[in-house]
Symmetry: C2
Subunit: 437 residues, 2 copies
């Protein structure tokens, strides 16, 4: 039972958001909001195509703002188009506890990636309203601009500028394939706000998200207590041999770039398998030239994505892989270019925030397990400036970035209940983060 005693906000009972029969957030309302939002950019195959800063993104932002205003929030928009809906606390001089995610999607995205974190935050505000419950600190719900990076590279640009990872001019000047910039599009759709980006204290940040992987489903767990995010190293590899006619060129004379690159794909997989259970190693892009049926490939370009939660292990993986690819190139008389193009260090989330999630899941009686996020999220950048944690819920078959992305209303409600409890706990703590800006 939630206590409505506004005079003792620090003493919220452990069962906040639930009674003996389960979570007390309104799961049906949460689901309905998700489905309503998913109509904006809905695809024939049941997904959503709502690229950042398109007219559809504007419609979704408008809908979000309407709902928040109806819920009594005040709206602030910053110059990066990040939106903040604020619910007052008992002491509005204290930094708010924030939640949020994004409402842009992949071109063939699903209904839950990002949208879930935002609608769960909305449900938190609505249920607190329903119960007339006021937290000590204000609560804020954020929508971050261009998380997906599908239209404008890089991904997570809105939260990145907010956290000081990129400067504002850089963020606004990112252009899509047609040369249109984020700044231009923000103006066009009416979301170029006036608030200075990042000058906004955050006592704690929580992000609820579908897992986008199969671990919770396989382990039959409802809540993933996200301990951190894997570090990522991205490489670009070019393998050069000798293009030649497939008919007249004897097998032993060939310098077939594809044969070498194929062995390298196997080596990348082996690099991932060598550091289980956490390592990931993926070749995601792969193209060959001249790509003609009867010509021995002369050049292959491919990407490597290596992930691990431990920086030292990730570095060892990279070094071992570089050596192995070099060996394969030499063995096949090929030239090799192996170039690191990006490194995102691993993130460890804030112990107190993670503990708040853990307590909530336990107190609410949900099955849970620790998990490391394999994907980047806005929470990664937020963790640089505020105590941060994430809550994962299972998604069907682990599939995301896909129109068939799916999650159960029960799991989504459970994650929302955990978010509510964790946020209320932190929002009632008079002592905020040491990391607080």
């Amino acid at each position: 039972m939630i206590r409505h005693d506004a005079t003792a906000p620090g003493a919220v009972p452990a069962t906040v958001g639930a009674d003996e029969t389960g979570p007390r957030i309104d799961g049906a309302r949460l689901w309905q909001s998700l489905m309503e939002l998913a109509k904006i950019g809905a695809t024939a195959r049941g997904g959503v195509n709502r690229l950042a800063l398109t007219d559809l993104d504007r419609l979704a932002r408008d809908q979000f703002c309407r709902w928040c205003v109806q819920a009594g929030c005040t709206i602030t928009i910053d110059r990066m188009g990040n939106i903040f809906a604020r619910r007052s606390g008992l002491n509005n001089d204290l930094a708010p506890v924030m939640t949020g995610s994004h409402i842009d999607t992949q071109p063939t995205g699903g209904r839950f990636d990002g949208a879930y974190g935002v609608m769960a935050g909305l449900e938190v505000i609505r249920i607190l309203n329903d119960r007339g419950y006021r937290t000590l600190r204000p609560i804020e719900l954020a929508v971050w601009t261009n998380e997906e990076g599908s239209r404008f590279a890089p991904a997570m640009i809105g939260s990145g500028v907010f956290a000081g990872v990129f400067d504002l001019a850089h963020g606004l000047s990112r252009a899509d394939a047609g040369g249109i910039t984020i700044g231009e599009e923000l103006k066009r759709i009416g979301y170029a706000g006036e608030a200075v980006v990042g000058h906004r204290p955050v006592a704690a940040f929580f992000e609820a998200h579908i897992e986008q992987g199969p671990i919770l489903e396989a382990g039959r767990k409802t809540i993933g207590i996200v301990r951190g995010v894997q570090g990522i190293r991205w490489f670009e590899v070019t393998v050069t041999g000798q293009e030649a006619h497939a008919g007249p060129t004897p097998m032993p004379c060939r310098r077939d770039a594809l044969v070498g690159a194929a062995a390298m794909v196997a080596a990348v997989r082996a690099a991932g398998l060598a550091d289980q259970p956490h390592a990931r190693a993926t070749v995601g892009m792969f193209s060959i030239s001249p790509n003609s049926r009867n010509v021995i490939p002369g050049t292959v370009c491919f990407t490597v994505d290596l992930r691990h939660p431990e920086p030292s292990t990730l570095e060892q993986m990279s070094a071992r892989l570089a050596a192995e690819l070099s060996r394969i190139a030499t063995e096949n008389a090929l030239e090799l270019l192996f170039k690191e193009i990006w490194y995102m260090p691993p993130v460890k989330f804030d112990a107190e925030c993670v503990a708040a999630v853990e307590h909530a899941a336990k107190n609410l009686g949900f099955t849970s397990q620790d998990i490391i996020s394999g994907a980047g999220h806005d929470a990664v950048y937020l963790s640089r400036i505020a105590p941060t944690a994430m809550i994962f819920v299972p998604c069907k078959d682990g599939i995301s970035h896909n129109e068939t992305e799916d999650a159960s209303p029960e799991d989504l409600a459970a994650g929302c209940a955990v978010l509510l409890a964790a946020m209320v706990e932190r929002a009632n703590a008079a002592q905020a983060s040491t990391k607080r800006p």
Copy 2:
């Protein structure tokens, strides 16, 4: 020395085309004609871009016809745009001995592929004129339409219709990527002739060509006596796994289509290596989907090109490869689609024509070796209706279908001298082929 005794044409001496100091054709004139032709569509990187039935192809055809008319030939153009330049013999009721090749090129083609066979034929006619030598049979020099297949698929369509492999309507209706047909382009450039395609007897057909492979160069031989052409089987393979996010998806859960396809590329190479020295096995086209840096590839499509001069061996190679790919797919929990899309049976060239080439090379004192053509040529289709042989000369580093394609004037002259001797031998034989139509 060539005998000018037109009353005994059957008695041409073995040294025709050469004396003790080497070939007697005019190597400098041959080279000059090749370089002159290569100006039409010349690229900055020293190659030629002269796609079939473009304005550049018309210019090259015009130049060819001018030269042939200057050499006293009569020109016939058939409805497929194939051009025949005829030099009269002593008995014009006898079927002619024909040579020829093509003057269309790959988009980034070289100066010799095709052009050499045509210019060598022109030099044969010119040298016979210079010496006032008249063969018993007429000699014809053919230019075949759209050999390369770069603009209009399939390749070798002009010689294919001539040999009855395709019917005329099919040939004329082949369209390029923009939907323009061969028939339309032939009319536009003025090469839609009136002659019925294929109603033209051929006593023997010889085609001189650069090897397009490294064998002669590696063996330091000047002349390749082409015994036949490898059979070719083309396959299209689709490998389907499960696309998923590269971060959250643990290695053991993955159904990575690229990992499976990479193992299949290795299997294709192994299939080629298992039947040396003649087998060839190549993956030439390879594409993956969705081809995104942080997404595990869900689908890979690739092509397989298998070649061998023995039909039974080629069939065994195909069957073994199909079984091996199937095993790999099962092992990686992937779906496999393995589809044969084309089969060109191996060709054995005519024993008498090959012997004529062999004698000529030997009598002229050129180093030579037997060779199997790994590539298709117009001669493959001609061999279906006439006794046929080919003469190969080395090309630099075995490179062809490339702007850097190169060959030495000496080797090109040697091949031309062999062509002259072989053609004169067959053109003076009163008894023509049993295959003669």
